[in-house]
């Protein structure tokens, strides 16, 4: 009898929302804590030290020296510039193309469901397959790009696209845009479907052209979604690694060497763990502002729920 009351008391305690809530979320939080939060702090600590695996006798706490060195490191600054360029142009194209495609797919036509479903394809592709695929398309000797452009008489001879800094940059961005645009399309399409038809009817009655109703009705209503898509894709642009690692390897002449590649080379090739960690942190500061904007807008939604 005594045991049954203690058992039910235990059950009662376990059914208390506060205790149960913590108990149920603890395993997930523990996993996230150990793989994300602890390394995040650990990395910050590492970034304040000299920690070269090749010279362990010189390990020391050096404060902000790594960060100061980074600001005068031409290879790092070059990679930062390349990353900002890569992300900005990617976002710009992804938004322009994404809105255009979404507007078309929002019209009535036969096979609309099928075409909308296709948008999932680039999104679902493993990014490494995307990289290998475009590398093959851009191949100088047998690539589809050269074949297509010569057959269309745009160029006369096969070009070594990836050896030219400018075309290499453009083509890497293009490969990224192909994979990432569907995300914008899907978001914008969902937003378009929430706009009531009455609004367009009313503007048609008032004699507005389609372009005018796009500018004055559609655009303002999808703007919040566009903001979120742009922020996320800017942040993801900074995280791009395998696409550039595979397609150009950072070349030619480091023009496509993104910061992620620089961090990788510094840490795992030169074995400078402290300097690499500082590089990763300093770069992340730049995406911190878009990240905060994104989280604040998300927070508003959480509070509303």
């Amino acid at each position: 009898m005594n045991t049954s009351t203690t058992k039910s008391r235990f059950q009662l305690a376990f059914d208390n929302p506060r205790i149960l809530g913590l108990a149920l979320s603890a395993p997930a939080m523990l996993a996230i804590l150990s793989v994300v939060l602890i390394p995040l702090v650990n990395s910050l600590w590492l970034s304040l030290q000299q920690r070269d695996l090749s010279r362990p006798q010189e390990n020391a706490f050096i404060g902000l020296k790594n960060y100061v060195d980074l600001l005068g490191d031409p290879r790092y600054l070059n990679s930062l510039q390349a990353t900002i360029k890569f992300s900005s142009f990617s976002v710009l194209l992804e938004i322009l193309l994404g809105v255009a495609i979404a507007v078309v797919l929002n019209q009535n036509f036969r096979g609309r469901g099928f075409v909308r479903g296709l948008m999932i394809l680039p999104w679902a592709m493993p990014s490494i397959v995307n990289a290998a695929m475009w590398k093959w398309i851009y191949n100088a000797d047998y690539g589809a790009l050269n074949a297509l452009l010569t057959q269309l008489h745009v160029i006369e001879n096969y070009q070594v696209w990836l050896a030219n800094p400018q075309s290499a940059t453009i083509l890497v961005i293009l490969a990224n845009v192909w994979k990432e645009t569907p995300f914008t399309v899907i978001l914008v399409l969902a937003a378009l479907q929430t706009i009531p038809d009455d609004l367009y009817e009313a503007s048609r009655v008032d004699g507005a052209t389609e372009w005018q109703s796009f500018l004055h009705i559609t655009l303002p209503l999808i703007l919040p979604v566009l903001m979120i898509a742009a922020l996320l894709q800017f942040i993801w642009g900074f995280q791009t690694f395998e696409l550039v690692y595979i397609v150009t390897g950072g070349g030619p002449f480091s023009t496509t060497e993104l910061t992620t590649l620089r961090v990788y080379a510094t840490t795992f090739r030169s074995l400078r763990f402290g300097y690499g960690a500082a590089m990763a942190y300093l770069t992340s500061l730049i995406v911190l502002i878009p990240a905060i904007v994104y989280i604040r807008s998300a927070y508003r939604k959480v509070v509303e729920l």
């Binding site: 149960l20 997930a28 078309v104 680039p122 999104w123 397959v129 978001l187 690694f241 770069t283």
Partner: protein
């Protein structure tokens, strides 16, 4: 005039979109089914006159002296499958419990946790890679499948919790309240009332988790060497090392992309709902 032109423009635009979306992937598939000699001709013929499965065979069966190590390919395929399936299962269990707690139990700090889940998804993996490498080396988890399962689970969990929480929040509380009045505990209500109603949410979360783990490259690239090497890492090695084996890389790429692509196409409604859950309300 306008009436006939508009549908024409529309269908041209649609055709352009379809071509832009499938042409690169279609070319990868065609390449993977072609004889090398046919693809080396100039001018290139876009539709091959003869097809072959040779590039696929050579990934699975040793043909003597070929540069792709057959054992390695089959081994990586197995690693990717095991890691993705375990990651999906663990994410589902831990994610559902945590999401239920956050959505329904409103304990101290639950709002903060939701926000934390959002924020964590924005942390650049490259920051975590260096300290994780050090930690995993100390714990002897490098080049082990269990190591990657742990890492992938933790990376995917925030998204799973975020999506599941949204799904639970959309289920009316009435049924649950009725079950509670009948003497059901919170956990009992979750098992008997909420989960049976959450089929679509569970499916979408499983697909997201599977695709994220299957496609993951950076962590697998850094944390594995031989034993736990995944398919994406192997494809990366193929395309940086085997300069001329394009068609075999294409075949491996098609195989690696089939599970996520087919899953996503088959369950596109779930995916679209999941992708838009955070952004469109």
């Amino acid at each position: 005039m306008r009436r006939t032109l508009k549908p024409l423009f529309l269908y041209l635009a649609v055709a352009g979109i379809v071509i832009w979306t499938i042409a690169p992937y279609l070319w990868l598939i065609i390449s993977s089914l072609s004889w090398k000699i046919d693809l080396l001709t100039v001018p290139l013929r876009w539709i091959p006159t003869r097809l072959t499965l040779e590039n696929y065979y050579s990934l699975f069966f040793d043909r003597g002296g070929e540069s792709v190590n057959v054992q390695l390919f089959i081994h990586s395929l197995g690693n990717s499958s095991v890691i993705a399936l375990f990651t999906t299962t663990i994410c589902l269990i831990l994610g559902v419990l945590a999401a239920y707690a956050i959505a329904r139990l409103r304990f101290k700090g639950s709002n903060f946790l939701v926000l934390g889940m959002m924020a964590i998804q924005l942390v650049p993996p490259i920051i975590l890679v260096v300290p994780l490498y050090v930690i995993m080396r100390q714990m002897d988890l490098l080049d082990k499948r269990i190591g990657l399962i742990l890492v992938n689970t933790s990376i995917v969990l925030p998204l799973v919790i975020w999506l599941m929480r949204g799904y639970f929040a959309s289920i009316p509380t009435d049924l649950e309240d009725a079950a509670r009045i009948d003497g059901c505990t919170h956990l009992g209500a979750l098992m008997r009332v909420i989960l049976p109603l959450s089929g679509p949410g569970l499916v979408s979360v499983m697909i997201f988790a599977f695709i994220a783990s299957w496609n993951e490259y950076l962590y697998a690239f850094i944390f594995t060497n031989v034993d736990a090497k995944t398919l994406p890492v192997l494809i990366g090695e193929f395309s940086t090392k085997l300069g001329l084996e394009y068609l075999r890389i294409a075949a491996a790429g098609v195989l690696a992309s089939l599970p996520p692509v087919l899953l996503a196409l088959a369950f596109q409604r779930f995916i679209i709902r999941g992708l838009t859950a955070g952004a469109v309300k």
